[in-house]
Symmetry: C2
Subunit: 363 residues, 2 copies
Amino acid sequence: MNVYAVIMAGGAGTRFWPASRSSRPKQLLALAADPNESLLAATVRRLDPLITKENVFIATGAHLSDASANVLPGVPKNQILAEPVPRNTAPCIGWATATIARKDPDAIVCVLPSDHFMANEDGFRKTVAAAIESAKKGYLTTIGIVPTRPETGYGYIEVGKKIDGDTFEVARFVEKPNRERAEEFLKGGKHLWNGGMFFFRAKDMIAEIDTYLPDLADGMRKIDDAARKGEEPKALAEVFPKLPSISIDNGVMEKAKKLAVVQGDFGWSDVGSWESAWELAKKDAAGNAAPAGSIVVEAKNNLVVDLTTGVKTGKNKAIALVGVSDLVVVETDDALLVIPRERAQDVRAAVDALKAAGKKELL
Amino acid sequence: MNVYAVIMAGGAGTRFWPASRSSRPKQLLALAADPNESLLAATVRRLDPLITKENVFIATGAHLSDASANVLPGVPKNQILAEPVPRNTAPCIGWATATIARKDPDAIVCVLPSDHFMANEDGFRKTVAAAIESAKKGYLTTIGIVPTRPETGYGYIEVGKKIDGDTFEVARFVEKPNRERAEEFLKGGKHLWNGGMFFFRAKDMIAEIDTYLPDLADGMRKIDDAARKGEEPKALAEVFPKLPSISIDNGVMEKAKKLAVVQGDFGWSDVGSWESAWELAKKDAAGNAAPAGSIVVEAKNNLVVDLTTGVKTGKNKAIALVGVSDLVVVETDDALLVIPRERAQDVRAAVDALKAAGKKELL
């Protein structure tokens, strides 16, 4: 049984404005430790040698397929699946799975987000390998991250009976908890963070979609039939926009019977804000993460991101921070953001203000 | 007797980096209330109708003469006096005075800094008019600003006997005082700030320089003789660099006998730092001075200056401040500065760091 990856690389993403834009969402940015590697490129690289580029599919939006291909040399162009419109994760995973099953009916499929970070890549691959083994046995398998704090922003997975090693049955999926429950989860040791990674035999997922999402199954079949006749683009444009917009979690995982979760602990981060990016970045002794050549005087714990292209001066900006602390400063050719690190979530407010002002070109 | 102005517009100025550069010093920047008028242009404009452009001379550096002319339409090009090298204020004023005296031996000369701000322009002109009257009587006359705080950064003038109206004899010039003396000066009511403005009959200044700065007088005569033969540029290049580098205060004013000071109170500011620029700028209800189109969310008392030329995007930057207070944020095409307002004096530290790094192109 061959193993394939489907990297979910859609999304608009406003949390990293002004670096992230509708045409350059989070996964195309180098937001983790290596300032020269996009999160998407890192996602594909770290699967190797478990899954090599020839077996990687990218599920993205039509407007992002070129930009995605640009950061992924070695991934075959025809494996970049461009959704004509975003329809949430169930149609995304359904279409990708059907596409893979068409060429390899016995395929094992690993669905992974494109915009997360793993500090321990060996540990990550070990967990993925276990998840693949579990999928081979017919389990729809997820990875559950061992919690390190009472996080209220993630869904949780309650583990059931042990199957083997770090692999457990899933007792239930739990929606984002309030603070009190999150504290209980952290103490209880039975709950893991849902990392949004899914592992399955293609035929198992197709069967589950048949059972729980018949409208999606119908649409998938139409697209698949057309693809067999070499007429996929037309069918895609016609059918995909009408597919039900539903997540794989709500549509399938929470209903399916044969579920497994592999417990993992590999320094996972969903890189959820500029604050996370600062935490992951390489910093100087004063806690500043800033491009080489920045002028930093009596400043500490700041994050500076410079995406200017130096069109006028032939080089990036000279960015000088004097006497400031705990700021995020992000520069692009057309925008500048200054915000305290602890208010990183409020980037949204700037984006909302731009929307209200009708400045689409900046979003 | 005709009245002429000599605007001293040299200087390098690092206090407004990255807006100010060796090729664009402070007086070429719009640092006061009107974001579209340079301090130099405002200096010339506010003299009108007391002194009109035809009678204005600009004493500047050779590398600044074009840039100065650009912001001063109406000032005759041949009245922009380009010093081949900076030699402090005595040679500057000496050369300009000789130049004016050559065409008008009875000229009254008003020497003014190019980079100050006056809130009450009518009041300023009234004070200047009084200073001109005083100069006509043969006094080397200055303007003394009524102090509003115990400032330790300025020289003071101790007033002597009243001559007429707001015009007094000068008891003495006083160097920058310590805090204690500055407090005394403020309470005592006998000391005024030395605003660096000088008013005199050309022939009186020439006579004083003859008396107190004979080397300068010799050099001036050589340049003047050459100018009468149409050979000024050669003489200037040869003689000017050898003139003694001394201020008019130390070289002449502190020694001359017939001195007057006109007391003035017209909302003067020397616009000494980004903090001053914020104080003078038009601000919104939350105390932010930022370009139109900036995105300001829960931010207060910030100064944002955008000198980018929008070469890539065709418009200036979208500058977003979210949740920050009391910052100065200055953007140019090649540099960005973020510094707390209260640390505005420490811009120097960034400039020093750039010098140490050999980045001349940014200075």
